[in-house]
Amino acid sequence: MGRYVVRRLLQMIPVFIGATLLIFLMVNVMGDPVAGLCGDRQCDPATAAQLRKEFGLDKPVWQQYLTYLGNIFTGDFGTAFNGQPVTELMASAFPVTVRLTIVAILFEIVIGIVLGVVTGLRRGRPVDTGVLLLTLVVISVPTFVTGLLLQLLLGVEWGWIKPSVSTEATFGELIVPGLVLASVSLAYVTRLTRTSIAENKRSDYVRTAVAKGLPRRRVVTRHLLRNSLIPVVTFIGTDIGALMGGAIVTERIFNIHGVGYQLYQGILRQNTQTVVGFVTVLVLVFLVANLLVDLLYAVLDPRIRYA
């Protein structure tokens, strides 16, 4: 087990280099960022050249990349176009996003799995159909609309919440945004759990457990659920990325200055330093998340072993 973890951690190095290189190249392919800096007019050529020099854009791409990589190892992630160090942007964006992600994942785990178990055990009953309809609504109505309506209803009509999240972004403020963010993933988690439960409830060990006279509750939680969770855990592991880096819409609606927003801005303004910096951190998050998921497999199903 220990060796396995060490090996996985070592694999992070090539992934890290590969991902930064890929993103670096992609942002570079997009073209000249300086063109967008001067508003609706042509940058005068001298200033444009000067700006390119300052951002290192006048050098060949490979050289830019090596310089960038070198700087990263000294903890320097470069500067955004508004003069702010990228590390500063990260320090303000990541804590908020991590909190938002935690809220969203908690929703996925709690609501998603509970609904999944209920519908899986009662396949074809009204509760199953009801949840299916909710799922369809969540998939076909854009997050933008659900977010906006919740905001108007809870924030303006009833005054239960503040429509926008303050700079501190406490957990309490993030409940509604977290729910909105989690909504589509909730549909996945619910249906994955439902299917797994429906499949496993007829398996031997469940019959055995029932035959032994174990209370239903125990059968469901200890035997049935535990064995049904592997696809769900896998999904949540892959979803962390979408939640952390892709919460653009949710972050906009609730005015959360998180990773999704910074990344989106960085991409639109073609700011290599910001984009590569943020993506690098995200890659590390994925690596750790996927390692945890793989380790969880072994916990959930003792037959799976890692050497």
């Binding site: 590969g18 942002v27 109505v141 994955l192 299917t195 990344l263």
Partner: protein, 346 residues
């Protein structure tokens, strides 16, 4: 080691076809079921005696012919499932209006009168008008082609590519798995917006293919992860160990024993993803890198109507409803297929 099936263990209420009563319903869990299911030749007449072959005979037997049996069994099961029939009819209808949208409409989707913007239902315009004064009904009908094509093909591509790669990685493990998993890590890291702006902006073709290709490219890692996870679980099962112990080839174990048991999560994720791909198409169009105007699609109409939800909810509801019905049809289809592949539920 699976044993021959005692027929009295049938599931109560399990549907069975009279003409092939030899379908084995052990009710003893997946291991028994599958082993016996393949231990039999389903075409065998019911009077041929109780099934007594086991995996041993199976391993030596004519694998190709028997491989068909599981799937043909599933197909037979499907045809009798009302859920499947309804889903199939809906999908057929969608295909029909995708091919001949003019058959149930009488206007052009590009004919828009701004003076009628956001007006509600009126004679000749059952669904009202959108923010540009275009007829919502006509656009919903015409939007089916793009949306269904993109949604279905992207899902199909993602599901095939993802489950093949993920399945192999999960089955064989080792270095291949590590490499593939790390590649998926990198793919997860590419923000959709960046990927779209970079990869699609170089494409000049205005067909759905680049968009579908892009979705497959960015979508497969997720399904691959899911497939890998369920294959890792499935390969621990007794019947797989048994088949292996009996010397079954890798491909046989994968196709006959693991796939039917690992496919459920892939189907679930794929059917829901279908809906999200239809919406994603609109995001790409919005960024100017997807399908160029004047393409008509549900996704584009939904995203255009979204900000006006307070004034003209109808412009949002109809294309969203069409999207919901499509997703529902595919979810039902997926469910039916999954049930048909799972002997325990019979």
């Amino acid at each position: 080691m699976p044993e021959p099936t005692p027929p009295e263990y049938q599931l109560p209420g399990a549907a069975r076809t009279p003409q092939n009563g030899a379908v084995a319903d052990t009710g003893m869990g997946g291991a028994m079921d599958l082993a016996t299911a393949e231990g039999e030749t389903l075409e065998r007449p019911p009077d041929a005696g109780p099934p007594e072959r086991d995996a041993e005979g199976d391993a030596e037997g004519a694998a190709g012919e028997r491989a068909r049996s599981l799937w043909s069994d599933a197909w037979r099961e499907l045809r009798r499932n009302p859920v499947f029939i309804v889903a199939a009819l809906v999908i057929l209808f969608l295909v029909f209006i995708s091919l001949w949208p003019g058959s149930i409409t009488w206007m052009s989707p590009l004919k828009c009168e701004l003076s009628k913007a956001q007006e509600g239902s009126q004679p000749g315009h059952p669904f009202g008008f959108d923010g540009q004064g275009c007829d919502v009904y006509t656009r919903v009908v015409y939007g089916a082609r793009t949306s269904v094509t993109v949604g279905f093909l992207a899902t199909l591509g993602v599901a095939l590519l993802g489950s093949v790669l993920g399945g192999l990685a999960g089955f064989f493990g080792g270095a291949g798995d590590s490499v593939l998993s790390r590649i998926t890590d990198i793919f997860f890291a590419i923000p959709v917006v960046l990927g779209g702006l970079v990869l699609l902006s170089v494409v000049t073709s205005n067909t759905v293919w680049p968009v579908i290709g892009f979705m497959v490219l960015l979508g497969w890692p997720q399904i691959s992860r899911i497939a890998r996870g369920s294959v890792i679980t499935a390969k621990q099962h007794d019947y797989v160990q048994a088949a292996r112990a009996l010397g079954a080839s890798h491909s046989r174990v994968l196709l006959r024993h693991i796939t039917p048991n690992a496919v459920a999560p892939v189907i679930v994720v794929a059917t829901i993803a279908l809906g999200t791909y239809i919406s994603l198409e609109a995001t790409l169009s919005y960024l100017g890198v997807g399908l160029k105007p004047p393409t008509v699609s549900w996704g584009i109409d939904i995203s255009a109507a979204s900000p006006y939800i307070r004034n003209a909810p109808h412009a949002l509801l109809w294309p969203s409803g069409a999207l919901a019905v499509t997703v529902l049809a595919f979810i039902m289809l997926g469910d039916a297929v999954r049930d048909a592949l799972d002997p325990k539920l019979r």
